[in-house]
């Protein structure tokens, strides 16, 4: 996942590589995702999130729709 100045930069980067843009997400949303994803990673009892938990996390920060469907 790369960081870009804005959506125009994403579209230019994709066009140069003949790629269809995927999902473009605000950096604040990605920070909330990263915080939830990694805040417990150093704990001895850490475990990977379940699909249900990951779906709930995505939804809680507004990552919804077909792109974020984990059961496709």
């Amino acid at each position: 996942m790369l960081l870009f100045r804005d959506e125009e930069h994403v579209r230019r980067w994709c066009a140069a590589r003949e790629l269809t843009p995927g999902a473009i997400v605000g950096v604040d949303q990605v920070h909330r995702l990263a915080h939830a994803w990694y805040k417990d990673k150093l704990r001895p009892d850490w475990r990977r999130q379940t699909v249900d938990e990951t779906e709930a996390l995505f939804a809680s920060i507004g990552l919804t729709g077909a792109f974020w469907n984990l059961r496709a």
């Binding site: 870009f4 994403v10 990673k41 974020w68």
Partner: protein
């Protein structure tokens, strides 16, 4: 000790060492620290990689990333808790202050134009910096090619 117990010990050592030093340990160091053979440690690393706990360099038992910590220098740098860290992507870079429960400064470049970008994290919140993140692939395909992802 069972294989699962060794994998747990390896996991804890790798992530705690990476957090404490900024450097991800590799099999020889892990072996010495835990008093286990390198072969046992490498088997444990393969098990952890299969469980997507960390990422190995292709066809090796060399750790590429104990996410969010990257084992090699990258374009995603984080200053936090008085140390420097690298991450394989912007998601992981933003995850380092979270893993450390510390404030941090993420430096990266725009994937298109290369301009420097800085993001400040404090108190568990993004306090300064903007931009967007491009997810080229949907989550169901992230592990098809984690390097591209």
């Amino acid at each position: 000790m069972t294989a699962d117990a060794l994998a747990r010990d390896v996991r804890l050592y790798v992530f705690q060492e990476a957090a404490a030093t900024g450097y991800v340990p590799q099999a020889p160091q892990i072996s010495a620290a835990l008093g286990r053979t390198e072969a046992d440690v490498r088997s444990a690393l393969q098990e952890l990689a299969a469980g997507r706990v960390l990422i190995l360099a292709p066809h090796t038992s060399t750790i590429w990333a104990a996410n969010p910590f990257c084992a090699v220098a990258s374009g995603f740098r984080v200053s936090a808790a008085g140390r420097r860290y690298s991450a394989i992507c912007i998601w992981d870079a933003l995850g380092i202050p979270a893993a450390l429960a510390a404030d941090g400064v993420v430096t990266a470049t725009c994937g298109d134009c290369g301009d420097a970008m800085t993001l400040d994290v404090a108190g568990g919140r993004l306090t300064d910096g903007d931009g967007v993140v491009h997810f080229a692939l949907p989550p169901t395909r992230w592990w098809d090619n984690i390097g591209f992802t």
